[in-house]
Amino acid sequence: MTMRIGVLALQGAFAEHVATLRAIGAEPVEVRLPSHLDDVEGLIIPGGESTTIRRLIARWGLAQPILDLASSGAPIFGTCAGMIVLSREIVGGEAPVLPLLDVTVERNAFGRQLDSFETELDVPVLGDTPVHAVFIRAPVISGVGPGVDVMASLPDGRIVAVRQRNVIATSFHPELAGETRFHRLLVTMASEHADPGEGVGRRQYPTRRSQHGR
């Protein structure tokens, strides 16, 4: 079953996420209005300018529908500005937009554009091959609540990728580096959400427990 994954297309690098999703066999859907969220099994919030995306989310009434989608269990993945949008607290006191991650985020944490950089980053949950991570005027997570898993940190300890239940966020841009593993993870989570045969019910798929339990 091909997964329909929404990509918030208000502003920013949404085309790169659309291309990445297509490359791994998912069906991307550009989301500009609440009605575009119908029938998507997950959502990506791309990089861009968070102040712009924040205003457009408010203007077009997208906050509640996205929160509803997340609370249904559908996976949400934010990169860079998307991480800011998903954080519960923003350093400096800006109001949160979609407070789905129990984290504190710091905007432009490395400085201005001259401090943008790329590096190899270990993300243990994705396997041994490091992620080539491009950071552009990137945010970092400066504090995490108890339910938040840290997926990756820089050598100096700054947190740059997190997951809390069905919500993932990265400071960097997998979509700019030909990195597909985050998107594959999202699509896997989306298919589990769309068809809860795994984990509960055991309706159609034989699992070790159902085979041995009988």
């Binding site: 208000l10 502003q11 690098a13 001259l114 950089f117 590096t119």
Partner: protein, 294 residues
């Protein structure tokens, strides 16, 4: 292992600006209005192009004090303009820490033959073009973002439309060519063969392509977006209109919802007067900005 200011980060910032509106501002107050309206970046300069046009004389890089004032007023990226070929103005802007430099035909060129060697800088550059050849020459010099020039300060979209159509038509023509025809195409375009081949293979410029010069209404922005622009620069069009905050916001909405005519109709209502435009025919050749740069 960790590299700053790489090609990917330079080009990448432009990718983050896509689908957005970059607004000319001349004061910190303007910059805050632009940010509040949803601008993805601001271009800090002393006078908007229509005032530069009216004032005549030599137009130069802005006062660093004014640029710093704008940088501290907003959290979005700040761009600033250097004269074509004036690499020292660019060095100064880089030292200030601006996020992007526009090597711009809106200012009076400082070199009639050479553009700035943009590879020599850590800060990324955006440059104007009128056609694919000019765009690729700028990319080969290190530009990480391209914008068609339009005719700045006129409030007249006609040049921007012509240039954008020319760029996109030329790309389509290259896509249809046999491999062995691209060598001559590169010669005719006056552009490096490797870049010409890349454009033919990918069907797009190697960097993000915005439109500038003449956008003054939400409909103008949506027009160039539908034609294939990846975002827009608005210069005089906002702060020379009757109600800049409303116009700025409406152009942002139109750039997002550029294919939705109902939304375009809604956001176009009651904006007050746009900037007063100038017919291109009334501008003498020597006062045209688009022809600056080579």
């Amino acid at each position: 292992m960790t590299d700053t200011s790489t090609w990917a980060t330079k080009k990448g910032l432009a990718q983050m600006l896509k689908g957005g509106v970059i607004m000319d501002v001349v004061t910190a107050e303007h910059a805050r209005i632009a940010e509040d309206a949803g601008a993805v970046a601001v271009m800090a300069l002393e006078r908007v192009p229509s005032d530069i046009r009216a004032a005549g004389g030599v137009a130069r890089m802005s006062d660093p004090t004014m640029i710093e004032g704008i940088m501290s007023a907003v959290s979005i990226p700040v761009m600033a303009k250097a004269r074509i070929g004036h690499f020292v103005e660019a060095q100064i802007l880089e030292a200030l820490g601006v996020d992007y430099i526009d090597e711009s035909e809106v200012l009076t060129p400082a070199d009639e033959r050479n553009h700035i060697d943009k590879h020599a800088f850590k800060v990324p550059f955006v440059c104007g073009c009128r056609n694919v050849g000019e765009a690729l020459r700028r990319v080969s010099e290190g530009a990480a973002m391209i914008r068609t020039k339009g005719e700045a300060g006129t409030g007249n979209i006609v040049e921007a439309v012509r240039q954008l159509r020319d760029v996109l038509a030329e790309i389509r023509r290259l896509q249809g060519m046999r491999e062995d025809e691209l060598f001559v195409a590169a010669k005719e375009l006056g552009a490096p063969y490797e870049l010409v081949r890349q454009v033919a293979a990918e069907g797009r410029l190697p960097v993000v392509n915005f439109v500038a010069g003449g956008i003054s209404t939400p409909a103008d922005a949506a027009l160039v977006m539908q034609l294939g622009a990846e975002g827009v620069f608005v210069g005089s069009g906002i702060f020379k209109s009757e109600d800049p905050a409303r116009m700025a916001n409406a152009i942002v909405q139109a750039t997002t919802h550029f294919t939705d005519a109902k939304i375009l109709a809604e956001v176009s209502k009651g904006l007050g007067a746009p900037m007063r435009g100038i017919a291109l025919e009334s501008i003498p050749d020597q006062e045209r900005m688009a022809v600056r740069g080579w």
